[in-house]
């Protein structure tokens, strides 16, 4: 069960809401990143258990970032999220090394816990 989380999303408003939601759910949010490069750097420096990763990022998208995170020495678990639906991404989610996908509209601590149950 992951305890420390890195939030990756280019919308500060979403990051703030997600942080509040995760902290209320008992997670420790150790950092935030606005794009893929920042995310890789932060993941390397902070070594979080979990990266909550938005799919539609400026530059490299969430799938690419997930693959690069997987290559890190101590690879974090990755949960993809998006304001879009799972179906909007075809089979890209299934093929990605991510643990799972939660649409932003359904994002909450219990949904996250369910992925690691």
């Amino acid at each position: 069960m992951p305890e420390t989380v890195l939030i990756v999303d280019d919308h500060p408003g979403f990051r703030a809401s997600a942080r509040r939601m995760l902290e209320a759910g008992g997670y420790a949010v150790v950092g935030e990143a606005g794009d893929g490069e920042e995310a890789i750097a932060a993941a390397g420096a902070l070594a979080p258990d979990l990266v909550l990763l938005d799919v539609q990022l400026p530059g490299a998208d969430g799938f690419e970032v997930a693959a690069r995170l997987r290559a890190l020495g101590r690879a974090p678990e990755v949960v993809l999220t998006s304001s879009r639906d799972r179906a909007d991404f075809g089979d890209a989610i299934a093929e990605s090394p991510a643990r799972g996908f939660i649409a932003k509209a359904e994002l909450c601590a219990p949904a996250l816990a369910e992925l690691f149950g």
Partner: protein, 493 residues
């Protein structure tokens, strides 16, 4: 009197004077014989070609047949120069004496259009000019008529290059070959022209081709036979007959050119063809432009949909996602921590207000409802009110216009004002929208920095396409330091 006619009259006077001069030269000549016959031939052919040519030139200024006939007449008078006792005038006459035959070939093969069109025509005429021009000049440099041509009483050749007696004969052979080939080709062209012609065209061609063909045939026979038989009598007789027919030729030309309407019809047809070609080229360019613009409009449609999706995703959707999470959290805290829950709900209300405002702005960007409800003037006022740069609406049509016109005009103003606010550093923008001469004229000008590149942004390009789709015109003027003016003209009856 027109400039052309004055010039033609002057040429007529000149031809008359040259005729008189020729008369004097021939009558005082020590070597021309028989003088009477030569004089008659020179005047008959020279004057008839020159005067009928000038008349034809005046009647059909667009057709070079008249000019060629006139030139033939003038060139014919070289014959008289070679009667001169002065060695220089005599030499000039020798050089130019055959030129009129080349012009006549030019005239015959291009009749009645006066234009060289096909390669065989060009080759024939070029060969004729080569034989009678440069080769004749070369020949004249090496021939001494007094000794070589058996011309008793002829003056000496002042430009004779001595010590090369055989050269003149060699050149003469080339000249003869060129001349005979040119004449044979010309006759072949005339025959082929005749065979391709319609009955109506043949009526016009008959007098010219019959006379011209006969004259040249006799000339051809004379040229060939004179090389084989050295009978002066035969040569003289053949030459006289050819020239007599030659003198009749201009009247045949004139008859052909004037009696028919073909000369005119051909000019009209050529003009129409040229105009047609030009129109076709313009049409093709237009089609290409339309194809490109249609492509850009389709592209712009896709780009617009992508923009709508992205704007929705980045804007309202993100706010709604955050709102969902805030509300979910508020719900969780409702029992345990009602104060925190109330705070979260206040936050959610605020977020919802922002999301609503953003959606409203977004919808207006897709289609402004004020435009369809209350028309262009009201919509323009709305744009002016929201613009961060002060906007003066100098003119706006009070009446309703067709929706595509109103919409295009609105977006031209909207995009232009957005650009003014972003780039122009302007203190004031002025919008003027007026109906004039069946168009809706839209003008947005500012007092800002200028120097905008209309090709750079997709916004202005998209506007130009939008206006082009309505068959309108679009123009951006933006000199550095002189502000920017965007002008669109949209057809609007």
């Amino acid at each position: 009197m027109s400039g052309l006619r004055r010039a033609l009259v002057a040429l007529g006077v000149l031809a008359f004077l040259i005729g008189l001069l020729s008369t004097a030269l021939i009558l005082t000549s020590d070597h021309a014989s028989p003088r009477g016959l030569l004089l008659a031939l020179v005047l008959a052919a020279g004057w008839s070609f020159a005067f009928t040519g000038l008349y034809a030139w005046d009647r059909r200024p667009q057709n070079s047949t008249g000019a060629l006939m006139t030139a033939t007449g003038f060139a014919w008078f070289f014959q008289a120069l070679s009667a001169s006792n002065n060695e220089w005038i005599f030499a000039l006459g020798i050089v130019g004496q055959n030129l009129s035959f080349a012009i006549l070939i030019h005239l015959l093969v291009t009749f009645p259009s006066g234009r060289l069109r096909t390669r065989p025509q060009i080759a024939t005429v070029a060969l004729a000019y080569l034989a009678t021009g440069p080769l004749q000049l070369a020949w004249a440099l090496f021939v001494d008529p007094a000794t070589q041509s058996g011309c008793e009483g002829c003056p000496g050749n002042p430009v004779l290059i001595g010590g090369a007696e055989g050269v003149a004969d060699v050149i003469n052979v080339f000249q003869l070959l060129g001349g005979v080939t040119a004449i044979a080709l010309a006759i072949a062209l005339l025959v082929s022209h005749w065979r391709r012609s319609s009955t109506a065209e043949r009526r016009v061609l008959t007098p010219v081709l019959a006379t011209g063909g006969t004259a040249f045939s006799i000339l051809l026979v004379q040229l060939v036979v004179s090389e084989l038989v050295s009978s002066h009598t035969f040569q003289a007789v053949a030459f006289v007959i050819a020239v007599a027919i030659f003198a009749c030729l201009p009247f045949a030309f004139l008859l052909g050119l004037l009696r028919s309407r073909i000369g005119r019809a051909e000019e009209v047809s050529t003009a129409l063809t040229a105009e047609n070609e030009q129109l076709t080229a313009e049409l093709e360019a237009k089609v290409e432009e339309l194809r490109a613009s249609r492509h850009r409009i389709v592209e712009a449609g896709y780009a617009e949909r992508r923009r709508v999706e992205r704007d929705l995703h980045d804007g309202a959707q993100q706010r709604l996602m955050a709102l969902t999470m805030t509300l979910r959290l508020a719900r969780e805290k409702l029992d345990g921590d009602p104060a925190a829950s109330a705070e979260l709900l206040d936050e959610a209300m605020e977020e919802l207000g922002s999301a609503t405002a953003e959606l409203r702005e977004f919808a207006r960007g897709i289609h402004p409802v004020v435009l369809s409800d209350r028309g262009l003037a009201a919509a323009l006022n709305g744009l002016a009110e929201r613009s961060p740069v002060p906007v003066e609406i100098a003119a706006a049509p009070a009446e309703r216009l067709p929706m595509p016109v109103e919409s295009a005009a609105y977006f031209v103003v909207a995009e232009s004002l957005t650009n003014v606010a972003r780039y122009a550093e302007a203190g004031l923008a002025t919008v003027r929208v007026e109906r004039r001469d069946g168009n809706l004229e839209v003008e947005i000008s500012d007092d800002g920095a200028g120097g905008a590149d209309p090709g750079a942004g997709t916004g202005l390009r998209g506007l130009a396409d939008r206006i082009a789709a309505l068959d309108g015109s679009f123009d951006v003027r933006s000199e550095a330091g002189e502000g920017t003016t965007v002008e669109a003209r949209i057809p609007c009856e």
